[in-house]
């Protein structure tokens, strides 16, 4: 379970996020949706202790993120930011292998190798594993980042728009995999999604954020209504029953 207590961030000059009180149930996939600038990334990075809040608490799986030992926490929660840029020149495999650092402190053993290979194969990166990151397309790079976070084998995965740059096939593939990570391994996945239809189909819970506040939290059936989506996204949305869950149409 992820518990946010009065979580608040003040960016100054009138922009502030929160205070947010929220409980995200353990297991399953929770999607964070909302318009640009709503505060999704801010909330996610505060949960993943990459950004210090100005007030409030984050407790993940019983661990308070500000007081738990960082090394322990790194085996409980892993976070992928929306933007990633590295000065060091790494290959895909070297990057993914870094995900094992909390366990190995940089000394990779055979079991780690197996986990690394699995993550790489899973994201279709086998043939690219010895390529440098700067020799990949945006989508391929994005998959490598997610593979790295997965390789960290944490109970909680926080992903900020991991479908960025991905084509249809890889988007579906990634959501499919995250679904299985949740269902088969019992992990908790919190994911920022751009496309509400992906949220509707693949998540157990949808959390709608707007102007720095959580305005809705519920199952896809509860959230995927004309009224709610129109209000959250401030654009006319109609919802229809599709062949596999509700579909939002907004164009």
């Amino acid at each position: 379970m992820i518990q946010l207590g009065k979580l608040f961030k003040d960016y100054g000059s009138g922009t502030s996020i929160g205070p947010v009180d929220l409980e995200i149930p353990p297991g399953g996939v929770t999607a964070l949706v909302g318009p640009n600038g709503a505060g999704k990334s801010t909330l996610l990075t505060m949960m993943g202790r990459l950004l210090g809040p100005d007030a409030g608490t984050v407790v993940i799986g019983g661990h308070d993120v500000t007081t738990t030992h960082p090394r322990k926490l790194a085996t409980v929660v892993s976070t992928l930011r929306q933007e990633n840029h590295f000065t060091a020149r790494l290959t895909v495999r070297q990057l993914v292998a870094l995900g094992r650092f909390p366990y190995t402190r940089g000394r990779i053993n055979r079991e780690d190798e197996r986990i690394i290979s699995e993550s790489i194969e899973f994201f279709d990166l086998g043939s690219l594993q010895n390529r440098y990151l700067d020799q990949l397309s945006g989508g391929q790079r994005q998959r490598a980042y997610v593979a790295m976070v997965l390789c960290q084998e944490t109970d909680y995965l926080l992903l900020d728009e991991p479908l960025n740059n991905l084509d249809m096939r890889h988007s579906v593939h990634m959501m499919h995999h995250l679904r299985r990570v949740a269902d088969e391994l019992g992990r908790t996945v919190l994911i920022v999604l751009h496309d509400v239809n992906f949220a509707s189909h693949y998540s157990d819970w949808i959390c709608a954020v707007k102007e720095g506040k959580v305005v809705e939290f519920g199952t896809p059936e509860e959230i995927m209504t004309d009224e709610t989506l129109t209000r959250v996204f401030e654009t006319p949305v109609t919802c229809h029953d599709g062949p596999s869950g509700r579909l939002a149409v907004y164009y």
């Binding site: 590295f86 650092f101 690394i116």
Partner: protein
Amino acid sequence: MPDTATHDAAVPPALHHDTAREGFAAFISPAHRRRYWIALVCLLLVGLAFCLGILAWDNPLPFGTRGFWRIAESRATSVVVIAIVAVSQAMATVAFQTAANNRIITPSIMGFESLYVLIQTSVVYFLGAVGVTAIQGLPQYAMQVGLMVLFALGLYGWLLSGKYGNVQIMLLIGIVLGGGLGSVSTFMQRLLAPSDFDVLSARLFGSVSNADASYFPLAVPLCALATVALYLHSRKLNILSLGKDVTTNLGLKHRRELMLTLFWVSVLMAVSTSLIGPMTFLGFLVAILAYQFSDTYDHRYVFPMAVLIGFAVLAGAYFLLKNVFYAEGAVSIIIELVGGTVFLVVILRRGRL
């Protein structure tokens, strides 16, 4: 995971074994690894050759006689100085660039050299030319090193601890402060008598002959200690080079690692600068060549490469200038000249940093 299992089964065991081995390698292929070791051994040989050259070349007495060894011994001081400076500048620059996540800056622009210049200038300004002799000696050297480390720690600590403290702001303020200290020194130099200025400018010129063997009891252990500490820190530096977010995500305390790295960097910079004076371009050149030659992100391999390059470059420049051009004082000029050219060639050929 059924998908992966079937995939694994489809891969021939030998092949699978190979891919598994590559993961813990710092190099992308055995060929890269081989190239690395060849380059390292070549540099070692070149370094040794220059070292021998400095000791034995143009020695007027026949090889093996007692007089020969006495002359070689006196020249050994230069070799030790070159070694200290090469190791310090190489380790410090690589570690600093990693901490700062930036491969075009060096610790010397962060105010170290300006502080050195300011200390030297103030002494001459307030005490006159005799002051220069007054700041030579082991205790004075220790004080100068201590002052520079304190300055650096104060600066880094202050800049990284605030709410908005981040590496970029630290760099910016460091550079501005360095510039400020530099201007103060320049102003004081304007007011000096020409003869005092002469004495001072000899000190401010990065030169192996500035060094004094009596500093070794402090310089050698400090340099060794910092080098070992940074080398043992390699695996963490590999993570640190990916920036604050990845570092935190992987369970390291970013600010702690950063301060620790910067502490050892400042020790090395202080040891080197106080020993021979400013060497702005050496670290820069060495680091860029080390990345180029080692072709890995892994500091366990980049560090030794950088150190050997530093030694070969510095010893080579010293040897050539001393024996071919009879101008051993101009080592820093030659390094900046050659270094700048090599740097440009590397950048233009690779099209990236």
